[in-house]
Symmetry: C2
Subunit: 492 residues, 2 copies
């Protein structure tokens, strides 16, 4: 297996695409903008789903499933939402094909035109709130805490695997509450669930904060976000949680009888993460040799490669491997013994390196004689030989160390690339070199827009749990008074 | 909670719909033919998914994800497949909405017409085999064993929740093999996985067999099926597994270099079960009081209802409940304590009965004094009082007993309603009373069609593991020679 991964220094964007393909994560399909998630990539996504799903359920959330299609008229009901979401989307207009009367193949049956067009969901607030109308009559019915794992479609002109695709997989949580306070608490709770997941499971440092009004979700009163730094210094929005006020409650007439008997509109939140997290995972940690996976998300945590000349040597090594595998599996560690006889050990080493398997064990006839085994770490590329009797205990310790080391590397990288900046000239220059800049902002959409027009940089968030900087100052662009610094960066 | 479930004897079809609604499983949405799967229904589906997914993976299957959309031209490639699948489906023709120039709301942007229409997948053989072309070059790349959990759309004029909906959820496995034998073995393996799941997890007796050519999947050389009997004696096809020969390999040019260097087309299988299993589960086991769930699929296996007059009584009962819950949870049993103070115990009893919770525990002040607890079984409606110290051990034994008893009830019901039949006059009468009839068939599509036209009955399968009856005889309709009996029934 030739590695053929473009180095980051040469072409960061191509490096990313190369890893997606070489690590067998995803590929383009015949349908423009829609990707195929290959088994190895999907196994990582499944781990993400499983862990997130458990975290959601611990907060009382239940899964449900709502229709793929949304009647076109629903998009017109919530004025801001329509502007933000009803534009680039897949429109179903017919429900039948027929044999082409002029020859072979099939054509759309013109008789089978739908009375009202259906939109393939780009997000499900409208259809879900049309359902919540049936569920919510009294304060006793609240809160409603639903999540769905599903596919959504937003027609995209320029796509990149995982980062921006026309169809993608995600979860969308939609909650209804009896009070604004409770809804706001839920929106905050969920962004912190995302942050915890990013930090602990993905080894991904994120900044939690509020979006500026310009960057809010269409129809939201407040959008909370987690923002991660990629290795090129650009920002990637990895998850968002929205406080939607009563906008959808009013648009879809979801009213409940409160404890005092009065009729109130329900308060809403929505929150989601998507297969975009896969893009963040790849971009944040990998190196020029390929993918680097935090053990918590690695479908294979330990791979074992036998080195042998004769069938007897192979059998002897495999016997040792099986014994180690059994002990590791008993400790919940996922192990693959790569006993393929169609490729050589060097090919296997390269393949598992590209695929980011955290730990590789290798053993040959000489190791066997010496009672030793070679242990290689993917994150540091360090190798060590050790007595085979020590290897299980070593790996049990090593996996969490790797998990933390990957996090620490990312934290250190970010620390080196976040700076305070108080000069507009400096800003214009530094922002292009891949930095997060902590700057004063006067709070107006106009200033934010002017900065974006001049530099492509946007306010990623107004931080709430790290990089919080409440202090008086002057806007980096307008010079007007400001009460806090916010995070500016160029974003994916 | 008024039960308001129509008795089976009065209107079987309405009984089914009532249970779907009253047990909070699903409801109709604003989109014709698309249902909302509510949290309680979805929790059952999640259990099904989890168990099936583990069974698939044990056989070496990996999950992946393929695009929702299929280019229209793909359907024309496999001649039989197009006839069977490309007709009633959702067609995407445009990719943008715009503000209505004549007023408020949105309209389809006529400028945004797709060059080629996209079909929302009714099943994914075509798009997946277009991808397998990239994956399969050599015999070393085979077998490919992929499955995806996803939504599919088949436009239906008449829909019923779970049984027939325009959008439904399912899994579809698609495998590619180097030989016909290996593909056939895989198709058989998967139908037996389905049968095992139906019998052991769903408590659902099924007949495994081959479909007659008339009833085969579009493009299949052989279709294997599991067929279940509902309480009205009708058959429900609960899962199918297809041997597709080289049809898709040839249509999508999936060729591999075999061990001998020759180029061969890959051999295909596909197999799927859907949310239709939810319909089978409901229809097979439930009674006039509501849903009956086998414990293996019950989201809540044990519910506890306190009976109390004073807050002190409630606190004392809840303390006992918490202790029992902890012990049950430690044994992997899912427990809900229903401490709601907004509804009375009788309401709770009815609600959990309708929802099919296998075991209910109740305890009041008198029980507390006596150290006893009341245990009720949903399947038999039996109640018993026992010392509270015995209840954990009792429930640990009881849950598998309930699982088996539900299976036995269904097996007994089926045994009473499967008959051999050798007279056409008898056939016409009996088939309408809800029977599976084991009859001789001459093997021709014409006879099968004539029987269907006369009675609506179809050949559900040619059995392979139960009700196998290889014997000489004469076709029930044509009188021509026959070598075996097959299963006739009227089907959902």
């Amino acid at each position: 297996m030739a590695k053929e991964i473009t180095p980051r220094s040469e072409n960061y964007s191509q490096w990313y695409n190369d890893i997606v393909v070489k690590a067998d994560l995803a590929e383009q399909s015949a349908v423009r903008g829609c990707m195929v998630i290959k088994p190895y990539g999907y196994a990582i996504w499944e781990k993400m789903q499983h862990i997130l799903d458990g975290m959601f359920k611990e907060t009382g959330v239940q899964n449900a499933y709502f229709p793929l299609f949304i009647p076109k008229s629903f998009f017109s009901r919530e004025a801001e939402h329509v502007a933000g979401f009803a534009k680039e989307c897949a429109v179903v207009t017919h429900h039948r094909l027929m044999n082409d009367p002029d020859g072979k193949g099939v054509v759309v049956d013109p008789e089978a035109r739908l009375e009202e067009e259906l939109i393939v969901r780009p997000t499900s607030e409208t259809i879900i709130w049309s359902v919540y109308k049936n569920w919510v009559k009294s304060w006793r019915d609240l809160p409603v805490l639903c999540n769905q794992w599903c596919n959504v479609v937003r027609w995209e002109m320029r796509t990149r695997p995982f980062l921006r695709t026309s169809e993608f997989l995600w979860q969308e949580g939609h909650t209804a509450h009896a009070s604004a306070e409770e809804a706001q608490e839920r929106a905050e709770m969920m962004v912190h669930v995302y942050a915890k997941f990013a930090r602990e499971t993905m080894s991904l440092p994120v900044i939690v904060g509020h979006k500026s009004p310009n960057e809010r979700f269409a129809g939201a009163l407040d959008t909370l976000t987690i923002e991660a730094m990629m290795q090129d210094g650009k920002a990637l929005q990895a998850g968002t949680s929205h406080f939607l006020g009563q906008n959808f409650g009013k648009s879809f007439d979801v009213q409940f009888a409160d404890r005092d008997g009065s009729l109130q509109y329900a308060w809403a939140t929505s929150w989601g993460v998507s297969t975009r997290l896969m893009g963040a995972l790849i971009m944040a940690h990998s190196d020029d040799n390929g993918l680097i996976l935090p053990p918590a998300l690695a479908p294979i945590q330990v791979v074992m490669v036998p080195i042998y000349k004769t069938p007897e040597e192979l059998a002897a090594v495999l016997e040792k491997f099986e014994a180690v595998k059994k002990e590791l599996a008993a400790r919940g560690i996922s192990v693959r013994i790569d006993a393929r006889d169609t490729v050589r050990p060097g090919f296997k080493f390269a393949e598992w390196e590209v695929k980011g398997v955290p730990v590789r064990l290798a053993m040959g006839a000489r190791d066997l004689a010496a009672g030793s085994i070679e242990v290689s770490r993917r994150d540091t590329l360090e190798k060590a030989s050790m007595p085979i009797g020590d290897v299980v205990a070593h790996i049990v310790d090593l996996l969490p160390q790797i998990q933390q080391n990957i996090y620490k590397k990312a934290i250190d990288f970010r620390a080196a690339n976040v700076e305070k900046c108080d000069s507009w000239d400096e800003f214009k220059e530094k922002i292009q070199t891949g930095k997060f800049l902590l700057c004063h902002w006067d709070g107006t959409p106009e200033t934010e827009q002017a900065i974006k027009d001049a530099t492509k940089a946007t306010i990623r968030c107004i931080p709430v749990d790290s990089f919080v900087c409440e202090e008086e100052g002057r806007d980096i662009y307008s010079g007007k008074p400001s009460h806090r610094r916010v995070v500016f960066a160029i974003a994916y």
